[in-house]
Amino acid sequence: MKEEKARELIEKHLLGEASPEEERELFALLEASPELREEKEEMETLIGALRELRMKAPPGFLSRVKGSIPRKTRYLSFVERELKYAVLAASILLMIAAGIFGLLYRGSQTNEVTEIKQEPRKGYIMQIEPRENGGIYFFTVSEDNSM
């Protein structure tokens, strides 16, 4: 466990991730252990060599990647980026406005029946029950028992 911790500290130190406290802890461990010092040297050599093997992107890559973006994508991306929130806000406002308009319209309706487009069939009667606070009517169709 202690060795594992020491290895972790060595790695952090070599990758520049160790805090000052961890650095102190590591140097105390290194002072006490020649094996750890050896391991640190090995890791230092290994990481140094690996980093020398790093490759860089070919020159002109940025221009090539920019040139490879289709114009349509560029335009769509602009629209998506700049306008999508505006479109979303407008849609929400539109829905709210439609809701308010609907409520106002419903409240303005009278209870008068202006037109009945279809008479009930023979042998049936139709009763109309207007609601007090709205413009909706209930039509009840039942058999005409008086016949």
């Binding site: 290994l46 490759m55 992107a57 490879s68 991306s77």
Partner: protein, 164 residues
């Protein structure tokens, strides 16, 4: 994300991603193609991402794995060996032998071992970032890296012995 932000992201991460892709594909042209497709996907994605570095590495990995599956072949690193001089390398003469050994050792590692070595020691990704890129737990990444390091050291043991 506007064009300027996109450019900044490309400049910041292109070399790290290219290096990773080069060592995983073993081919410069393939690495560049995958890199280009990765950045195109980033551009099309549009929205800002929390950790662009991890996001880009993950997408780059997915793209190269998909292309690799399409070709249904193992990654061949012969081209790495065939390159006598690689641009971007500033090798001091006295370290040439060590570098050669490390390159051979790295080339001979299995893909999943080479991958964690590159991400951690060459590119300095944190364990959490590597876990996010590979879709594994941090514990798995730590043990895989230890195993990969041991394997690489085994391949370099002769040189290390001389170095000591």
């Amino acid at each position: 994300m506007n064009d300027r932000e996109f450019e900044k992201t490309v400049i910041t991460y292109k070399d790290q991603l290219y290096n990773y892709l080069f060592w995983m594909t073993g081919n410069r042209t393939e690495a560049e193609d995958v890199l280009q497709e990765t950045f195109l996907r980033y551009y099309k994605y549009g929205d800002p991402v929390e950790n662009p570095k991890a996001w880009l590495f993950k997408v780059a990995r997915n793209v190269y794995l998909k292309r690799q599956r399409k070709r249904s072949r193992e990654v061949s690193l012969e081209l790495v060996e065939a390159d006598p001089v690689m641009p971007g390398m500033q090798i001091a003469l006295e370290r040439e032998e060590l570098i050669r050994k490390v390159r051979e050792g790295l080339r001979k590692l299995k893909n999943h071992h080479r991958e964690v070595i590159i991400l951690r020691y060459m590119e300095g990704l944190s364990y959490e970032e590597i876990a996010a890129v590979l879709g594994e737990s941090v514990g798995t990444i730590k043990s895989r890296l230890n195993r990969a390091k041991e394997k690489l050291k085994e391949k370099l043991i002769l040189y290390m012995g001389v170095e000591k």
